[in-house]
Symmetry: C3
Subunit: 341 residues, 3 copies
Amino acid sequence: SKIDLETIAEWWNIPYPESFDTSQLKTQGFIHVKGNQFVDASGKHFVFRGMNIASPDKLLKQGQWKKSLFAELKDWGVNTIRLPVHPIGWRSSGKYNYIELIDEAVVWANELGIYLILDWHSIGYLPNGLFQHPMYKTNVQETMEFWQFVAARYKGVPTIAVYEIFNEPTDMGGKAGTADWLEWKAFNEQVIDVIYAHDKQVIPLVAGFNWAYDLTSVIEHPIEREGIAYVSHPYPQKAKPKPRTKDAVYASWTEKWGHVSAKYPIIATELGWVEEGGFGAHIPVIDDGSYGPWIIEYMEARNISWTAWCFDPEWSPTMIHDWDFKPTEQGKFFKKVLQAY
Amino acid sequence: SKIDLETIAEWWNIPYPESFDTSQLKTQGFIHVKGNQFVDASGKHFVFRGMNIASPDKLLKQGQWKKSLFAELKDWGVNTIRLPVHPIGWRSSGKYNYIELIDEAVVWANELGIYLILDWHSIGYLPNGLFQHPMYKTNVQETMEFWQFVAARYKGVPTIAVYEIFNEPTDMGGKAGTADWLEWKAFNEQVIDVIYAHDKQVIPLVAGFNWAYDLTSVIEHPIEREGIAYVSHPYPQKAKPKPRTKDAVYASWTEKWGHVSAKYPIIATELGWVEEGGFGAHIPVIDDGSYGPWIIEYMEARNISWTAWCFDPEWSPTMIHDWDFKPTEQGKFFKKVLQAY
Amino acid sequence: SKIDLETIAEWWNIPYPESFDTSQLKTQGFIHVKGNQFVDASGKHFVFRGMNIASPDKLLKQGQWKKSLFAELKDWGVNTIRLPVHPIGWRSSGKYNYIELIDEAVVWANELGIYLILDWHSIGYLPNGLFQHPMYKTNVQETMEFWQFVAARYKGVPTIAVYEIFNEPTDMGGKAGTADWLEWKAFNEQVIDVIYAHDKQVIPLVAGFNWAYDLTSVIEHPIEREGIAYVSHPYPQKAKPKPRTKDAVYASWTEKWGHVSAKYPIIATELGWVEEGGFGAHIPVIDDGSYGPWIIEYMEARNISWTAWCFDPEWSPTMIHDWDFKPTEQGKFFKKVLQAY
Ligand SMILES: [Mg+2]
Ligand SMILES: [Mg+2]
Ligand SMILES: [Mg+2]
Ligand SMILES: [Mg+2]
Ligand SMILES: [Mg+2]
């Protein structure tokens, strides 16, 4: 039963939102930032490795929102699942309904010893209010309010280790106006302040421009808050060296985002590929398969965390062909990599 | 029949809003600011003394929106009633429907010789778009539009003497971001300009931070507009001196807001208490009852106007137990105080 | 069938908007800005001359949205039709539905060799979020998004020659706050940048204050973008010289907006009159009829383009009495003027 806060007859009886009851969770250590890495509760280095799933509300409507999905991912070897929350889904479900799904994700992940990355899954340039598609439409107030609400609810919950503030900032080459790093930095700092006023035991994750690829502004103008990490989405066609040798691709990655890993922790929360002509092939995810080993080797050599996209048969590049979890080409690859840890 | 301006079929036939017809009112003098006090039409000092009621749309839905409510308050001795308009109620009723209630309040109050304070009843920090509860959610555009609409409608109506721009500004200790007085001051000045462009015979009322308690920025950075007043909500637990002597509480009040009364007029539009464990007891309204005489003596010594909270059996601290108007502890106290004038 | 993007069940299947298929159009030259004039594809001076119609969605609901309306206008001699899109209509129809109407207008106008001016028909001061009537209510995000969406759809379509960014900016003498030219200029430049990132073969049209009348700030602080034009709405009562001689009216027009035509191209996208007591007579459109020849002579002497208001029997000043297209007083006049070209 969907709660519509705006039309509820007795608005004066809307309850104050409650925090998630952490007593139902089993012990799971908090992950923190230390230098350019993550550490667990015992101070040991920790690397997030895992996969994205589709949006919880999409999975619910398709009858696939169940603990067995998380268990399958555990079997594939993930220690982390990323939950992309699309603004259009957040609004159409209603926040009080949507958090019931996130609550379930917390319980399931906690039981399985998995961490969650909660991602506000928009694409565009938020300060200009312009986006790539109606799915991604939001505004500054809604985005701030989302993080205020989420931070209040999941305070003290170790399972949701990371808050990814905004999935893919981009001005789309001017089609969303002009993006400005100092403006974007200030906005992210505001969101981090609201999160930290509720909960200091969570890692805010900040993205750069070019669809969360480019982190070149970070060294000169870092986010001036402690305990945060940066994100990149290094899909294969983002780096375009000619000729496309492994060394040249590595140099390109290092120049655009990898160099930041020397100073700050990084999570590549989206990566993956599909062969040309394959299901859902589109720029920038098309690759002949050489990308897989390259990106894994690159990230592992630098302690860069990662969650591949996407453990869903519809959202490309797909990891599975169907709901029997039959792996795709990249699915086989990432399953093998994950299970080796 | 609720008018939804956004989905009306023939939007090109939506009429222009009309101003309230003042010819239906009996003579009632305009109240104005003079120095640090209010004066009536004859130039005599005037002090607003009265009570809050619940939101008109709440009372309507509960079958309690009637002139006899105002008459009962008249019998209790009020010269002023404060009407809190919650943004969620304004939106869900629709503005064209809501003003029918305010129109009725004007007619009833005018017949009884009572003044009204119209209050945009939000809690949070509006420039950041973050609030304490869904009831209080609004935004800058809606708030400006509310005052534009109200000022156009009630131009020349002496009965609504005061426009309280924003009930309780607060950044909730960072949970609503960071509040900034100069930003807040500029916003209030913009609203006042829109009000004054419609109607100069009304008193805009400006609140400070800490849930409309703290006015310490006002002396150095006052609102640079004539004819306005300031508001404080001095609930008992806002002042926390130890030991809690009357002198220490007075000193605390003077430091945080009372000193402003030497230079500008003040209305304490909310105040009241309930005993620990009493109905609706919550911070900051809990007190053993010593608060009542203290705050009245403090305000009266400084010509500070006031409206106590709340002449409703559900909204705490309550003044009445039920709709037979059986007074609560504070109800008995304030009734006696008011009837003595 | 109305598409509501916010409540659609499978939001993940909302298609990406497609661009208009230009292959269905016959050849029609692009109009461009050259110096202070417009030129056609062959470089010859071009003057837009035509009329406004009512909003496409209004005409649709009234059974008058048909190609024969455009054909009648062609018969009256127009080379241009202005389409006013009211924000309330855009929202209530839904953008995916509304562009079906604009698509039809493009096809009809193209077949008839007519150009279109697409007009975001709001009145008020957008940066303050305050408007003259609910019909005109919008906000910065919606306005930017409208132009982003429209520019993406009609890229490469010569028929829609002009994008009129905002119909009538005005702070209504303070009732919509305070308007500031540099703020307004910066906003228009942002919109132009978004348009040009999609389509450089269109002419953005920028309005000044006083309900799109006053262009006096343009010479000192022009819009710093190439290829744009300015607009004025010189309704008869905007100029108020005493005595009201032709020379005095001309001097007034030149002072407030006409002088800009020496440096930049101008389109008067609204003008017209009705006699006192005539249908829909209201300030500032009342005139005894001397206005018609004066304004035409004034504009033609300066190569100023124009579209008169309004080829509709309900929107005053009307050009027609009914849907048999019986001309009004001004209708007879403008028909004669247009047919002479
Ligand atoms: Mg910007
Ligand atoms: Mg956590
Ligand atoms: Mg008044
Ligand atoms: Mg402004
Ligand atoms: Mg075009």
